[in-house]
Amino acid sequence: MKTILQFIIKELLQVKRDKKMLAVIFMAPILQLIFLGYAANMDVNVIHTTILDQDKTSISRDLIKQFEQSGYFKIDYYVNNYEEVTELLNEGKTLVAVVIPKDFEKKINRRETAPIQTLFEGSDGNKASIALGYIQGVTTKFSQGIVTEVKDKLGIKISLSGSLTPEVRVWYNPEMKTRNYMVPGILGLILMISTISLMSMAIVREREIGTLEQLIVTPLKPYQLLLGKLIPFTLIGFVVLVIVMVIMTQWFGIVVRGNKLFLLFTALLFVLSNLGLGLFISTVSKTQQQAMMASVFAIMMPMIYLSGFAFPIENMPSVVQYITYLIPLRYFITILRGIVLKGIGFSSLWFETIILFGMGITILIFSALRFSKRIE
C-alpha cells in the first residue's frame, strides 16, 4: 500500500511539473466548455416566415393562426404565388415559407392526408432543422386538434393515420434550451478526453524513456503499477469534473437537479472504461505520438460521433445505431442529461448505470491482463 502511495505521489508530481500537461488537463476543459457551451446555443427564437395560402379556407386560416400563436414564428409576408416565395427565400428575407395547397380543407374533410409544403432557406442547416422541428410541432398539435374535433363531432374512433404526418425531431425541444441539453454532454466529453489521454500517455512515456523497464525489474507487482497510475488519474479526472461542473452552474446557470453524489458515482464508473481504453492504447503504441493518434482517431472521435453527443442517435442508420450500444459515452451522456436536466436518479437510470459498470470493469480487466502479459 505504501508502495502504491509513493507511486501516486510521483505521478502527481510529474503532472505538476509538466506545464504543458497541466494546461491540457485543466485549462483545455474550461475553454472547451465555454466555447462549446456558446457554440451549442442553437436556440432559434424568431423564425421569419412567409405564408402562401392557396386554399384560403377557414381551416387554412386556423393553421396560420396556430403558427402565429406558437410564439416562434413571425409571419413577415403573405404572398400570392411561388415566384414571390422563391424571391424572398433567395434574398434571405425569410427563413421558412409555408405553402398551404388548394385542396387542403377538402382533404381534411375527406379525412385524407393533407400535406403542406415547407421551403427553407437552408444556408444555416441547424437553424433550418430547428425551424422544421417547430413546424412539425405546430402541425402535430393542429392535426391532433382536428382529430379530437372530428371525434367529438362523430363520436367515433379515428386513428391518427390520416393526419398531417407528424414526426417529432430531437430538436423539437420547446421547454429546453439547446445549450442546456448540450452542456451536460460536454461534461462527459471532457472527462473522457482528460482521462483517456492521461492514461495512454503516461505508460507509453515510461516505456519511451526507459523507466518502465526499470520498474519491471523491481519487485513492484503489475497490479501495484496499475493502481499507481489509475488512482492519480481518477483523482485528476474528478478534479476536472468538479471544476467543469462549477463552471456549468456558475457561468451557464445550469444547475444539477438530481443527486450530485450519484453523478460523481456514475462518473467513476465511466472513468473505469476510459482508463481501460487508455491502458489498452498504451499496450499497442510504441511512442507517445502513436498513443495520441490512437486515442484521438481510434477512440475519442468515434466515441464522440457515436455517443449521441452531437448527432441524435435516432437519426443514425440502424446499423450504426446498434454500434452506439458499445459506446460507454452514450450511456454516460444519457445519465448526465438525466441527472442534470431531469433530476432523475438510479431508479430511472439503473440500466445505464449497470451497463457502464459492466463495460468499465470488462474493458479495464481486459486491458490490465494485456498489459501485465506484455510487461512480463
Binding site: 505504501k2 510529474q14 526507459g210 525489474v217
Partner: protein, 313 residues
C-alpha cells in the same frame, strides 16, 4: 562460489538468433565484464538474466534462483541500470530517491541512511532539490547507479553505464563500481570501452550472439594470440598497410591511430625485415618498429575477425 550460472542461454527473435547458447559463470564479489560490438547481444543477455525477457531456451541461476522458474525471487536480489537513463528527469534528485526507495519498500531509518549514501556517492549532497534532468551526464549516471542499488542488492547488472560520459566521470564511475565490489556485491557490466575491460576481474566477449572468448585480461592476451605482434610507426600509414598486407608472413593488420599493428605468421621475421621491406624496397620512412604485448583490442579484433571468417565459411 558462483553467483551467476548461465547455461546455454538462447534468445531468438523470430528466425534471428540474438543470443546463441551462451554459457558462463560469475563468482561472488567480482566485476565481470561483458564485451561485444553493437548488436552483439549484450543487452538481450542481460534482459534475460534480470527476468524481463524469457529465454527461448537454456536457463540461468542468478543468486541461486532460476530466471525461468523463479523470476520474482531473482528480482528481489538484483539491481539493474539499463542502457537508457532510467530515472525520472522531471523529478528532483530527492523525489527520485524517495520513489525508488518506496518501490523497494525502504522506509524509516534505513531509508534515511540509504538516501544519504546515494547522495554521497553521486556527489549531490545539498543538491537534492535539483531537477534530475538538469544534472551533468556523469553525475546522472552515478545517481542512477546509486538508486539502482539503493536496496543493497547482492548482484548488480549495468548495461553500458558509461556510454557518452566524459573520461573523468568514467573514472569516478569506476571508482564507485570498485567500491561496491569491495563490499561484496557482484557486478556484471557491459561496455564498449576496452580500457574499462582492464578493470574487470573476468571478461567474456560475444560476437553475433556467440561467446567467443573468456578469461581475465591477462589470460586473454596470452591465450588467444600466440604469434608476435609488431607495432610500426611509419610515414605513409595507409600505403605501408597495403604493402604489408601483400606479404605471406603477415597474418592480420590493424590501424591504431598513426600506428600499424601486425600479427606475424612467421616467428623468424623481425624488426629488420619490416624496415627493409618498407624503407629499402618502397622508400617509406619508418620511425619505429617494436615488438609489443597485445592489447585487449588486438585480441578482440583478432578474435572477431577469426569468428567472422568462420561464419562466412
Amino acid at each position: 562460489m558462483n553467483t551467476i550460472e548461465v547455461n546455454n542461454l538462447t534468445k531468438k527473435f523470430g528466425k534471428f538468433t540474438a543470443v546463441d547458447k551462451v554459457s558462463f559463470t560469475v563468482k561472488q564479489g567480482e566485476i565481470f565484464g561483458f564485451l561485444g560490438a553493437n548488436g552483439a547481444g549484450k543487452s538481450t543477455t542481460i534482459r534475460m538474466l534480470i527476468g524481463i525477457l524469457e529465454p527461448t531456451f537454456g536457463d540461468a541461476l542468478v543468486g541461486g534462483f532460476s530466471i525461468k522458474n523463479e523470476p520474482d525471487l531473482v528480482k528481489k536480489n538484483i539491481g539493474y541500470m539499463s542502457q537508457k537513463f532510467s530515472l525520472y528527469n522531471d523529478l528532483t534528485v530527492a523525489e527520485n530517491i524517495r520513489f525508488f526507495a518506496g518501490v523497494y519498500g525502504l522506509d524509516g531509518k534505513k531509508y534515511e541512511e540509504r538516501k544519504k549514501w546515494v547522495l554521497k556517492v553521486a556527489n549531490l549532497e545539498h543538491m537534492e532539490n535539483v531537477i534530475t534532468g538538469s544534472l551533468p551526464g556523469g553525475i546522472k549516471q552515478r545517481l542512477a547507479l546509486g538508486t539502482a542499488v539503493i536496496h543493497e542488492p547482492k548482484i548488480v547488472f549495468l548495461d553500458e553505464p558509461t556510454s557518452g560520459v566524459d573520461p573523468i566521470s568514467r573514472r569516478n564511475f569506476w571508482d564507485l563500481i570498485n567500491e561496491l565490489s569491495e563490499g561484496g556485491t557482484t557486478i556484471l557490466v557491459t561496455t564498449h570501452y576496452l580500457d574499462e575491460a582492464e578493470f574487470c576481474n573476468d571478461i567474456i566477449l560475444i560476437n553475433a550472439g556467440k561467446l567467443i572468448a573468456q578469461g581475465n585480461a591477462k589470460a586473454l592476451k596470452s591465450n588467444y594470440i600466440k604469434n608476435p605482434i609488431l607495432e610500426i610507426e611509419s610515414e605513409r600509414v595507409v600505403d605501408s598497410l597495403e604493402i604489408l598486407e601483400k606479404e605471406k608472413w603477415v597474418g592480420e593488420t590493424s590501424i591504431f591511430g598513426n600506428y600499424i599493428h601486425v600479427i606475424l605468421n612467421d616467428n623468424k621475421i623481425n624488426e629488420g625485415n619490416i624496415i627493409h621491406l618498407l624503407t629499402e624496397e618502397n622508400g617509406i620512412k619508418v620511425q619505429r618498429v617494436e615488438k609489443i604485448i597485445p592489447t585487449l583490442e588486438d585480441v578482440f579484433i583478432h578474435l572477431i575477425e577469426k569468428d567472422s571468417k568462420k561464419n562466412v565459411q
